[in-house]
Symmetry: none
């Protein structure tokens, strides 16, 4: 578990997109961020107070979170200087970068000397069990996609937020590095050893109150041949009561697989439901979340209506129109 609140390190971000992790924290857990740390030439801005390390420390920040992607897979000397100062000032460091903080000898040495923690959230920090398939108390909802990167995390985050607004019991359960950095905990599923994948998801979504919902972040797609095994572990380890189908309607082919077409929403519904019912016979598909970012407003509304009429399920873009109708569908499930 990563200590909050954070100071968001934006470094020398060449553009706002590079700071996707920081933006996610800003959007979904604004209370977790007391301020931002920007270096010369930084082109990203989270509209948070710019702070020195000392100012952030005084404001209560406990962890410096690397909220920006690095160029060329190298932690630059300019970044290093800040990271080492942060450790010396009493901050933990948290990172979702491919190259690990713990693999940098200088960072490791200073962390040991100062007693601060280096969190590399791509690497599992827990010895997960093998899944036992036992029915757990409480409710679980999983977002499954026709493809990778179609808005599964966004959908689960939006529903979690809207459920909390209504006073419903909900927990977002992160399964990827961005979600883990945003919420401070979770399972980096794509880095888990094969045999323990489903068990890690059982561990992530334990027994809970009967009226509590785990909103589980999806990964990959049952139809994406590179990552479908990861998705399968979520479907069986998560034993969802409810599935949300996620889709991006303008893709020519599966992400990174030029020879593969996207499945229809009908195929996703039928395949995901059939597999999910192995672990939870009561599972239902309750709604559809469409990422319409590449459509105009009229086009998006028409597309959503067409899908809703065809599939007979509430169909929304939670970014444009909120996730309330998906939450309604969960509540209706009981």
């Amino acid at each position: 578990m990563i200590k909050t609140p954070y100071l968001l390190f934006l470094g020398d971000a060449p553009d706002p997109l590079a700071a996707k992790v920081a933006q996610g924290i800003r959007d979904w857990r604004p209370d977790n961020a007391v301020g931002q740390f920007r270096m010369e030439g930084c082109k990203a801005d989270m509209k948070l107070p710019d702070m020195t390390l000392a100012e952030a420390k005084a404001a209560g920040a406990q962890t410096l979170v690397i909220g920006v992607a690095n160029r060329g897979g190298v932690i630059s000397a300019a970044w290093k200087k800040v990271l080492i100062e942060a450790l010396e000032e009493g901050f933990d460091l948290a990172s979702g970068l491919h190259n690990l903080l713990r693999d940098e000898p200088d960072l490791k040495a200073v962390a040991e000397a100062t007693g601060q923690v280096l969190h590399d959230v791509r690497i599992p920090s827990v010895k997960y069990p093998i899944a036992n398939g036992e029915k757990r108390k409480g409710k679980r909802c999983l977002a499954v996609g026709t493809d990778c990167s179609v808005g599964k995390m966004y959908t689960a985050m939006a529903m979690d937020r809207d459920m909390k607004k209504r006073g419903l019991k909900s927990s977002f359960r992160a399964t990827g590095q961005t979600g883990i950095l945003i919420t401070g905990e979770g399972v980096p599923l794509d880095a888990v050893i094969a045999d323990f994948m489903a068990g890690s998801i059982e561990w992530l979504t334990p027994d809970n109150d009967d009226d509590h919902w785990d909103m589980i972040e999806g990964q990959g797609s049952l139809f994406h041949v590179s990552y479908s095994g990861v998705t399968m572990a979520l479907v069986h380890g998560g034993q969802p009561d409810a599935l949300i189908l996620c889709h991006e309607p303008t893709r020519d082919h599966m992400r990174g697989l030029p020879g593969y077409k996207l499945p229809t929403l009908e195929a996703l519904r039928d395949t995901a439901l059939q597999l999910a019912r192995v672990a939870n016979p009561a599972c239902e598909v309750v709604g559809i979340s469409v990422n319409t970012q590449h459509l105009g407003e009229d086009e998006a509304v028409a597309y959503l209506k067409e899908v809703e009429d065809r599939m007979g399920l509430p169909t929304v873009d939670p970014y444009r129109h909120g996730s309330d109708r998906l939450v309604d569908a969960l509540v209706a499930l009981g």
Copy 2:
């Protein structure tokens, strides 16, 4: 590689299925096993001479192979005592357990002191790629099961043997510790990092002659919630042209999952084929392999006929009656 012949360590196996590794070696490389070592309470029996370490050493055994699984993964104190004695008696140790021999400080120290070798065959020795889904030359056959431990490896081994007898081009492709211990190479799939599972199977079954068959060892089951993600990676990474359905007809429930019934062969056929066709639209289910070890001969023959009539597919127990009819079905596919 691992020095032969072996003494097979059966430990305190709670049931015969737990000794799958030893059984595989016994069935496919009987000349490699001079005897078995059983502890108090052992419920497995390879019908090999029971030997002390000294007797096995005198009979020429060079390596103590751990032929039994330990679910969840702890090397007990009772096992340790035997393993340390074996090292002291001049045996190497070979293991496919999740928890590594090399990670046990006492075993490592004694191995170093005695000059004996610790073989952990489960550890991936290759940096596998992420799957790219590209169509490969040559043919591939994958055994898929209604449950774990229903005879998938046995089926692929038997077909590989019978194909070679006919002069057909075939390679058994090991994906688990037993197959790797038997053949000396393969991918320890259940120990591969999630993101690289499908890629490891692409790597294992590369481009080959148009008339060459990879006989891919199956793992888990699409219907076994603990391991289904591993199976999914085989179905998509292996991009099989042919599937063999494997079944054991006397199970009350899925292995290790008391609350879960086995799927029907029809459900397995439909689910596996639908998923396999995402990666290879030409994939066909060509036959059924039934493990009839718990049925009498008449009962077995009647059961096989009933399944064959019902499913319209050649149905055999390759252990009782050979795999020739399954090989015929592969050949008929072209």
